[in-house]
Symmetry: none
Subunit: 195 residues, 4 copies
DNA sequence: CATGAATGAGAATTCATTCAT
DNA sequence: TATGAATGAATTCTCATTCAT
């Protein structure tokens, strides 16, 4: 629906330009050009508007991840780097407005108790590793999967949330890749003298 | 002040037993046994109460970390494991009530835009690595430090925030250690053809 | 009109199944299968719908009373009992759904300031008495007529409104008859010393 | 409390002068001279204000009834007449303002589903009868008690609710007395030829 | 130091009604 | 006739904060 799209767009604009605390139903009505009544024709309550916006953004991320996953060419490192880069994009690092929106939505998602939807990303990383695995590798257990996938997502989320300037550097991408590869390869390695 | 302590204690109790949305100044007055007026004798506004509680909790963590850091015995792995275990404790994994408080304070800290105070931990981990480092190791750059330290903290914070049952397992601690060690050792390793 | 009948039927269903406070125009539209616009084609405003439903129910009662009045056979007691029994039925005591509707409509009639339409019943009772009256009886004055007729109606209305279980007993009917007969015969009786 | 009294007084004034539909919390605040916040310091919600006013009025009636009951002198007829007269007063028949308030409160009581509190009056009437009873009288059963007491109350309530001018006549009081006495004496009477 | 009655801006939500199609 | 998206005035209620005592 056109009206819903307009309302979500206005919601995003308020979030970006004025902050979450100014996102009141009356203010949204004014800004969107619709009346309060109209908002409540399409959303049962204020929370639902925010949740719809979060969901819309998340589904976009899911689509991008799915797209990247279809490309099975290249080495493990190359494939993992593609995933990392996609996440980078997914967190909207490039345009300032979008970054602010991501920022706001992340906060709201936490405030509303929504879990970070890492399922797709988790699967992606683990799948690449599984594909490349020779017989000698033990599959990752629950804790390992959790730590590996969440650490990647959370470090990105954290950097986004605090607007770290490192986010735009290649070094940052390299460091994340190092985190993933180091973790995955660690098992194979014999315990050295210094550890 | 005794009064301030009582107020913060009551604040914590409300957070744990009733949730952040019930933490209103009037309710705090009723629960603490003081009047609203008294609250405003000690805190300029509502936000200050929450921030004071967060700060109190954070200083406790800082103290524990500092304590652990003083113990420079053992291998790199042992020292890192001690740090990880301290963090575990710091996130109050054992007693349920405290976990709920940590949970609530994390959310509030995010809502108030407070940065996660990883400085002490970051220093701790990096210092251990530096101590053990031979000449051939290149020091970590800004992105690497950021990724390594935040990933550890954020994965713990995330697990706490969502009440993951993995938190109480040894496997989880092992996985975090693997994350750290894998990252640190990764540089030294020659890039293999498949990875 | 078929449409009007359907709308009133849906109104009754909402009143019975969900209560008066859920009787909103939008809800009625949804439940009736018509659009809000259509409702306003047939009724000038919300109140008119309720009033139409009340009127429909009242005309049914009037019809029944008129029918009973045509039967002039039997003793005074028998004829009065027939009237009382008709009122019983009129208040829809038997089927639960109808009782709820009566209940709801009574409340609404009061809320809208509608007078209880006792005219027909009043006439019926007084007429029976007048018919059987011998010369020695003084006709009822305005206050007496009022008190006699309203007391019967109001006691029934009250019992209905509060869902009294007595309503379904024969004793209850007997008591109402006793109220009427006692009142009518009281005049004739010589005042005793103690009563 | 002075504030509560002022608020209830303002509530009564609005009810009398402007009608129940104008009794909004904001309007009450304006009229009472207090702020909305103050209203909510003393009442949990809008309904509670109305209920408090109803309860206050009812307790006044209860007190008057209790007072009249203490006087056990005179014949049954005299004692019953005293009760009837008290009810008359209780329904505030004399001053116009009070009548409007009674009117409004009655409607509100019905709208809020409150039962008419006839207990005290019921007891009063039945007790007088019981006191005067000789051995030959059968005590009233549940239906009889219900019909007798409610008919008296409801006919008064009805007359008040519709502002009947009969209320101020002696005839009216006589008629009610006739209703009571007729009912009570009816049992003793042998079925005559005309009934 | 402590109190707590009073404040009032402002938030979410409802619902009867309109009107262009 | 019928539709239903849009309206917006009005309502209830919350809660941080003030200030006279």
């Amino acid at each position: 629906m056109q009206t819903v799209a307009t309302l979500l767009q206005a919601t995003a604009r308020i979030l970006v330009e004025e902050g979450a605390e100014r996102l009141t139903t009356n203010h949204l009505a004014r800004k969107s050009g619709f009346s309060i009544g109209t908002i409540y024709q399409y959303f049962p309550n204020r929370e639902a508007i925010v949740l719809a916006l979060i969901e819309r953004q998340r589904s976009k991320v899911r689509e991008r991840i799915a797209l990247v996953m279809q490309d099975r060419t290249g080495s493990v490192e190359e494939r993992l780097r593609r995933i990392v880069r996609t996440l980078h994009d997914a967190f909207n690092l490039h345009r300032n407005a979008d970054q602010r929106l991501t920022f706001a939505l992340l906060r709201l998602a936490i405030a509303h108790g929504l879990p970070t939807p890492t399922d797709a990303i988790a699967e992606a990383i683990v799948a690449v590793w599984r594909d490349a695995q020779d017989a000698e590798h033990r599959p990752l257990n629950a804790s390992e999967t959790f730590v590996l996938t969440r650490s990647v997502i959370e470090v990105l989320r954290h950097a986004t949330l605090h607007g770290s300037p490192l986010l735009e550097t290649v070094e940052f991408e390299d460091a994340i890749l190092r985190l993933i590869l180091g973790f995955l390869r660690e098992e194979a390695r014999p315990a050295g003298p210094d550890a």
